[in-house]
């Protein structure tokens, strides 16, 4: 594959040898980032938002997730894992969450923390932020890295509405890094903090965080990648349970609907939206100010929220049901949030203003853009309008745009080619 130059990292690889050029990925990409050229899929890194749709739809294992190898744990003296809330929903009900958490130690971690530990604190922080920013409505959640990137590329005018504070796993990282380094007398470089995540977007966010001021995590492992190993250790964890504490009440973070309900209160109206197509629809309406009655909108690219992440094992609805069951049966467990509150007040969780990565403009100059638009319309009239993707572009419109931008030719249209051949054959016959 011809690598398109870009400053953007993505946690997705295309295995060219496996790619059949079927265009399934081209059709499911929410930002039209994929083209099939010379019978191979190519991803435009400027457009990709790491949603993982292409990876899920590919039948040929040609689109695969990038994930760090567990071997990198060896580079650190003290290794800490922070596990995403959706992890709890990936196991059958005979396996307790504490056993599933215990099994993670066997992968080589000295300590395991949970995203869910800070959920309650997050809710508090989000509410304070909403109240302190009355001039911006609605505030949009920023936890889902795919949503943040979607707004950067397609809805840049909404960037100021994003909740400009770190996500829970990064907040926890900030807090733990200082605390553990001091407690264990370590150098910062001796401490490795790693995330266990449900999707490619979170892997990307670890390697290229948006708006982060300081060094956060040292790597990310996907739930899908470690699952096999975890299963090996599970039996032992079930038979020899150690005293592993869990913070199950906060697992709500994995469920977009429940998270909105938690933020919602007397003076804050919250809305929950999940699934990337729904998110696009809602963002377009926010742009038009049709949803200003909401104070906060929870936006997640995957079905039901992070439980729908493409690198999870379990179906998002089953996983959601399991997590809800765990939450219901869990004992309340308080954590001391004073140190977090102190860091928050000191601005340690602030995020730098997020910058647009706009892909929408045809040209910087409006007159040239109009000229290009005219040409696009001319090509559009010639094209059959079937949106079959056989040319390798997602739609006839996208092909017309690709032609005008010099990235494709009208001869790429298979339908036109066939019509042309038929006409030639007919005229030869008539002669």
């Amino acid at each position: 594959m011809a690598e398109i130059k870009s400053k953007y990292f993505h946690a997705i690889n295309i295995l060219t040898d496996n790619c059949t050029g079927c265009t399934a990925c081209v059709r499911v990409c929410p930002t039209e980032a994929i083209r099939v050229r010379n019978r191979k899929a190519e991803i435009d890194p400027n457009r990709c938002i790491d949603c993982g749709n292409c990876l899920t739809v590919c039948q040929f294992h040609a689109i695969i997730p990038k994930s760090d190898s567990l071997e990198i744990l060896q580079n650190f003296k003290h290794r800490v894992a922070i596990v995403s809330s959706s992890y709890a929903g990936q196991f059958t009900e005979d396996i307790s969450y504490s056993a599933a958490k215990q099994a993670l130690f066997a992968l080589g971690f000295d300590e395991v923390f949970e995203e869910s530990m800070v959920t309650e604190f997050m809710i508090r922080m989000i509410r304070e932020y909403i109240r302190a920013n009355r001039d911006k409505r609605p505030i949009l959640s920023s936890n889902c890295p795919a949503v943040v990137r979607l707004i950067q590329v397609k809805y840049p005018s909404l960037l100021p509405n994003l909740y400009h504070q770190e996500a829970p796993m990064s907040i926890l990282t900030r807090y733990l890094r200082e605390k553990i380094v001091a407690e264990k007398g370590l150098q910062d470089s001796e401490l490795g903090i790693f995330l266990i995540v449900p999707c490619v977007a979170h892997v990307t966010a670890v390697h290229q965080p948006e708006g982060a001021y300081k060094h956060l995590q040292d790597g990310a492992f996907s739930i899908g990648m470690i699952y096999g190993k975890v299963r090996e250790y599970l039996k032992d964890a079930v038979n020899n349970p150690a005293d592993v504490e869990t913070y199950s009440k906060g697992l709500t973070w994995a469920l977009s609907g429940v998270q909105a309900e938690l933020v919602d209160c007397e003076d804050i109206r919250a809305l929950s939206v999940n699934g990337v197509e729904n998110v696009k629809d809602i963002l377009s309406r926010v742009e038009d100010h049709y949803l200003d009655q909401y104070d906060y909108i929870v936006l997640r690219s995957c079905t039901n929220g992070c439980v729908g992440g493409c690198l999870n094992i379990e179906n998002p609805f089953v996983a959601m049901s399991r997590i809800k069951k765990i939450i219901k049966e869990a004992p309340a467990r308080e954590i001391n949030v004073d140190p977090l509150a102190k860091l928050s007040e000191a601005g340690e969780f602030d995020v730098a203003p997020l910058q647009p990565r706009s892909i929408m403009e045809l040209d910087k100059d409006i007159k040239n853009a109009i000229k290009k638009m005219k040409k696009i319309n001319e090509f559009l009239i010639m094209l059959p309008g079937l949106d079959c993707s056989a040319c390798g572009s997602p739609s006839c419109y996208a092909l017309a745009e690709d032609i005008v931008q010099g990235k494709a030719s009208i001869d790429d249209c298979v339908v036109l080619l066939k019509r042309h051949n038929r006409e030639e054959a007919d005229s030869e016959y008539n002669e």
């Binding site: 840049p156 005018s157 377009s284 742009e287 038009d288 100010h289 049709y290 929408m360 403009e361 045809l362 040209d363 910087k364 409006i366 007159k367 853009a369 109009i370 638009m373 005219k374 319309n377």
Partner: protein, 163 residues
Amino acid sequence: MAEYWNIAPERKEFVESFFKDCPEPEVSLEFIITEKDFNTAGKGSAEIKNLLKRLGIDSEILRRVAVASYEAEINVAAHSVGGRMTSNVYDELIHIRFEDNGPGIADIAQAMTPGFSTADDLVREMGFGAGLGLSNIEKNSDMLHIVSERGKNTVLELMIFFG
């Protein structure tokens, strides 16, 4: 026949010469609006917004175009037997014309009043018909022109400048 004009004072001269010269648009888009079809009503204005995004139009202008064209499109679907929406893009502005096939507005001044609505139960059940459509269009456009005759049809056209 009744007629209604509202032009931003600083655009008056331009609008007059525009209607006199009738310049050719650079880009033109057309949509058919079907009576009471609220599933597709709104697609036209969404397409217009997408088109203007590609031209790099400022986001605040984009919002005004989106709101004005959406309200007008919904009006045609809710109150008429259907019609068409023609959007013409020029270097410095967009001109959108909504022409329906009847039945016309009885009293334009009354229809412009915020809160006044003749929407039937079906339309209200769909969540439309709050009576803010026309005043919203007026608020968001630089030029609004309505020509209507009860028993015939309505033509609504609006202009929004890019800068």
